[in-house]
């Protein structure tokens, strides 16, 4: 085809008065949106290459750069928006499916923002977390209904549990989808903060073995990197059935990203595509899941809790209840705003349901069936701040997975181009030149700071409610009120409207 109908998405504006031609922007842009013109003796731009990742803007020493949305306007049309038109043009060029990265960006209702929290006044004192103890410790794993004692009166062992110092874990992101430096940053931060991180379906790189007590090893449909030592290396195992960003479909790590290290870790030949099938081909129904759960428990001598991660879909409550009775110790539910390294745009933006509603439905169902106290419930997709976490716990979650937020702490600017492998921040890339841009020493500190900040905020909010232990918030929906929600939405969330 002779003419590419696509226009640039962004325009790079350079203030020539400020530009010193130091060329930092050109050196830092893996998309080659900046270049130095020797003839004109100045910096120039190739707008169509720009993905608006802000790497150049952040590093420009004179603040000479601004990136803006390309100002070209389409004739007003609420149905055929500019985005719709340019998607069609892209597909008309290539014949391919539209690919994207990170979570669903569409403007559908975000329920977190329609939920308000309570605080104590007069009848009940609020608690100052700077002066009084405030406990966020969270214990995940299967719980019996009651504690049991042996003949000598000593308490019997509980099934294996995970102990978290704060109700936050880093969600599954594989080595392959993200760089080894990103993995190291998360693993070490988890280790130092008493949290857990999750390998995703990427196997466990040998550099990460020192953090194994803080590792949840994932077993997904491709079974990449799964072996006896891997299973036993982690503190817990997670069976990944689905992902919020792409429920019902598998994964695809293109061969270009499968270099030496990824190949070794995943146990696949270098340069080959790593394809995770849509279903696990040994799980076609719930009883098969039970078999896999117990196979993994057998393989690890019943010493590791087993989690099952699913995407939030329409009948999530019934599915979760089935998973609980199939023997899972932890159920992880990923909402439709959850992130991804690569997903078909149509699936990411149209399949699945919001995590807030899924969580409320699952927690209520598990309680109706007296299962809730037996299993732990972890939610993700997407948790954007500490208030989201507090709301999630009050709706019924034990803990949350955060992934996008952790990547943002590492430098991600949400350009949604993870699938290109050209992440200028050294996160979603395997290109050594780009990978080294993320210094894990800095990464660890930044991620730790985020978790520390959030944990402080959670303590402040709890204190305001007159609560000094997170358990007392779990499922405590009286602490929540809805705003701008319909009767039906309130009913599903199990909360009252503000003012009630």
């Amino acid at each position: 085809m002779s003419l590419n109908y696509n226009n640039p998405e962004f325009v790079i504006e350079r203030d020539q008065d400020k530009c010193i031609e130091c060329r930092v922007c050109a050196r830092q842009c893996a998309n080659e949106a900046h270049f130095y013109d020797e003839d004109l003796e100045r910096m120039r731009e190739e707008d169509i290459n720009c993905v608006n990742c802000h790497r150049c803007v952040t590093l420009c020493p004179t603040n000479a750069l601004v990136i803006k949305e390309y100002p070209l306007e389409y004739k007003k049309n609420s149905n055929w928006t500019g985005g719709m038109i340019s998607n069609i043009q892209k597909q008309a060029n290539t014949g391919g499916i539209l690919l994207t990265g990170m979570g669903n960006p569409t403007d559908k209702k975000i329920y977190w923002d329609h939920i308000l929290l309570n605080a104590s006044q007069v009848t009940n004192p609020s608690i100052d977390p700077l002066r009084e103890p405030m406990e966020l410790k969270t214990i995940l794993g299967r719980k019996p209904d009651k504690v049991e004692f042996d003949e000598e009166g000593k308490v019997k062992d509980l099934p294996p549990q995970l102990e978290l110092e704060t109700p936050i874990m880093f969600g599954a992101m594989s080595f392959g989808s993200i760089s080894i430096n990103a993995c190291k940053s998360l693993a070490q931060a988890a280790n130092e903060m008493g949290m857990m991180y999750n390998t995703g379906e990427g196997g466990l790189h040998e550099d990460l073995y020192p953090y194994k007590d803080r590792t949840i090893v994932q077993v997904a449909s491709g079974r990449f990197g799964v072996h006896q030592e891997y299973l036993n290396a982690g503190a817990a195992i997670e069976i990944k059935i689905g992902q919020g960003a792409k429920p019902g479909i598998g994964g695809h790590l293109p061969g270009e990203k499968v270099g030496e290290e990824v190949s070794k870790t995943r146990m696949i030949p270098k340069g080959t595509d790593a394809i995770s099938p849509a279903p696990h081909h040994d799980i076609y129904s719930i009883e098969d899941l039970r078999q896999l759960i117990y196979a993994l428990k057998e393989a690890t001598n019943y010493e590791k809790p087993v989690s099952v991660k699913i995407a939030a879909v329409h009948n999530v409550a019934a599915i979760a209840s089935g998973i609980a009775s199939a023997g899972a110790d932890i159920i992880a539910i990923d909402g439709y705003r959850g992130g991804t390294g690569a997903a078909p745009t149509m699936i990411r933006d149209n399949v699945g349901i919001p995590i807030e509603l899924a969580l409320a439905a699952v927690d209520s169902r598990l309680r109706e069936q007296s299962l809730r106290n037996k299993v732990s419930l972890v939610v993700s997709g997407s948790i954007r701040n500490s208030a989201d976490i507090v709301k999630a716990v009050a709706l019924g979650a034990d803990a949350v997975y955060v992934a996008s937020a952790a990547l943002i702490a590492l430098g991600c600017h949400m350009c949604q181009k993870c699938y290109t492998g050209k992440c200028n921040w050294g996160i979603a890339t395997q290109n050594p030149e780009l990978v080294k841009r993320l210094n894990p020493e800095i990464g660890v500190e930044r991620v730790k700071n985020l978790i520390e900040g959030w944990s402080h905020e959670i303590k402040e909010i709890l204190g305001g409610m007159g609560i000094n232990a997170l358990e007392s918030l779990r499922g405590n929906r009286l602490m929540l009120r809805g705003i701008d929600l319909t009767e039906k939405e309130l009913e599903i969330l199990g909360i009252k409207h503000a003012g009630e």
């Binding site: 008065d17 400020k18 010193i20 031609e21 130091c22 060329r23 930092v24 050196r27 830092q28 590093l59 020493p61 004179t62 290109n431 050594p432 030149e433 080294k436 841009r437 210094n439 020493e441 800095i442």
Partner: protein, 150 residues
């Protein structure tokens, strides 16, 4: 003594160290003026080949071949601080020091002046400007108690 060490595994090759070196050694101490109005040569050099890059500057080594080679006595090693620096007034621009330096850390002034350009560890400040402004902590300023001897 405290010296600047490069960690090539984290060097982005962005050359911001050069920008801040120039600025810090300018009259105005202002990035834009330093580049647009002054003629300042960076005293740190980023070497790049493919994915590998690192920043190089004077090692202030024991034995200092540049000091020995200097024909006017302009290049001196301070006994107390260990910093190797030179006296612009005495320098005649013979560039013998450039030939003598085993690291290639001394270079000609880019604007044609006779004086040479080399790192002075930003002796008047606390931390050298290159270290302070490296976006990825690829340069560190520390005392490793190992003298590089030439």
């Amino acid at each position: 003594m405290k010296k600047v060490y490069a960690r090539e595994e984290y060097c982005l090759g962005c050359k911001l160290c050069e920008v801040y070196c120039v600025t810090n050694h300018s009259q105005s101490k202002d990035i834009i003026k330093a580049y647009k109005l002054e003629e300042v040569t960076s005293r740190i050099i980023v070497e790049t080949k493919g994915a590998v890059s690192f920043a190089l500057q004077c090692r202030h080594c024991e034995g200092s071949p540049c000091v020995k080679a200097c024909i006017t006595g302009a290049m001196q090693k301070d006994e107390e601080t260990g910093i190797v620096d030179y006296d612009e007034d005495k320098c005649v621009g013979c560039w013998t020091c450039i030939m003598a330096c085993p690291f290639g850390a001394v270079k000609r002034d880019e604007f044609g002046n006779k004086v040479i350009s080399k790192c002075d560890l930003c002796a008047e400040e606390g931390e050298p400007a290159c270290v302070e402004n490296c976006p990825n902590a690829a340069l560190i300023f520390e005392d490793r108690e190992v003298e590089e001897v030439c």
